[in-house]
């Protein structure tokens, strides 16, 4: 039950494999098809940011229990350049790279709980949960 999925993200292949594994992980944990797809899409956006901005990083998926039942927790960390203004990064249409932005507001909406911590020069950590 407490089996974690821990993956290092260095290449695009790592990223796409992890997205696929996320769907399977969620389904195996008893999550429905649509929420599983949303968790996997959130992971896809987050690992894309890792490759684009930090170069490499890691992701851990866990099954969690809460008041509202069971769910999936995503923890994504990198030692990249970090985000100077986290509040601005959570505004829609904010972009620190090219026109695509970081997609973080989207990730927040796809998940039920979301937190972003970042220190410029040290890295970024995103924690997010979705309840079944």
């Amino acid at each position: 039950m407490t089996v974690e999925l821990h993956r290092i993200i260095r290449t695009e292949m790592d990223a796409s494999r992890t997205v696929l594994e996320t769907t399977l992980y969620c389904r195996k944990a008893g999550m429905g098809e649509t929420p599983s797809c949303m968790v996997a899409t959130a992971v896809s956006e987050l690992v894309r940011n890792i490759l684009k901005y930090a170069g490499s990083g890691e992701i851990i998926l866990r099954q969690v229990k809460g008041i509202s039942g069971r769910g999936i927790e995503i923890e994504v960390t990198d030692q990249g350049p970090g985000i100077a203004d986290c509040e601005a990064a959570m505004l829609d249409h904010f972009s620190s790279g090219n026109t695509l932005g970081l997609g973080l507001p989207g990730v927040q909406r796809m998940m039920d709980e979301f937190s972003l911590q970042s220190t410029p020069g040290e890295g970024t950590r995103v924690m997010a949960r979705k309840w079944s």
Binding site: S16, E33, C37, M38, S44, M110
Partner: protein, 170 residues
């Protein structure tokens, strides 16, 4: 001297990458180019897919393109934006494009990600997509008939409705 060497290295590397890139299956059926996307849409795949698709549309003169993504478990905002750019490009080539087979989770995620879905043509399955394309493309033979009829008409009769300046040229 060094610049030429650099270019050569770059070229050979590109060729190596291209040879390994999986291709999206593209076929032409009922004058419509149908692409079934079953592989992960990384950047190399997308670039190659766009080239293949546009070439096929150009070679066949197809006026419709169907992108079947029912094989995709997820589609993130970046991949979706890339697909839309490919759809726009094929439209500029003269082929209407329809996205087919989006799963409920894919749609939900795209909406949450505030993906740009303005003007997107989408259908439930291949049959619905063909129906959609036929509806807009079948208008064409009628329009052609109209044009042909107009040309067959006696020019003075046809030009009666034209603005005075245009009609006066005869």
């Amino acid at each position: 001297m060094s610049r030429i060497e650099y270019t050569n290295v770059n070229d050979s590397r590109e060729i190596t990458v291209a040879a390994d890139v999986p291709r999206v299956a593209i076929q032409v059926s009922r004058e419509v180019v149908v692409a079934s996307i079953q592989v992960d849409l990384d950047d190399d795949v997308l670039v190659r897919f766009r080239e293949d698709l546009l070439q096929r549309v150009h070679d066949t003169g197809s006026r419709g393109v169907i992108l079947d993504i029912s094989g995709l478990a997820t589609l993130d905002s970046h991949e979706f934006a890339a697909l839309r750019r490919i759809m726009t490009t094929s439209e500029i080539l003269g082929a209407e494009s329809v996205l087919v087979g989006m799963r409920p989770g894919v749609v939900s995620a795209l909406i949450e990600a505030e993906a740009d879905v303005d003007g997107l043509r989408a259908a439930f399955d291949l049959d619905a997509a063909y129906a959609m394309l036929e509806q807009s493309l079948l208008v064409e033979p009628e329009t052609r008939d109209d044009v042909a009829t107009a040309q067959d008409c006696d020019p003075p009769v046809f030009l009666q409705d034209a603005p005075p300046g245009v009609g006066g040229q005869e």
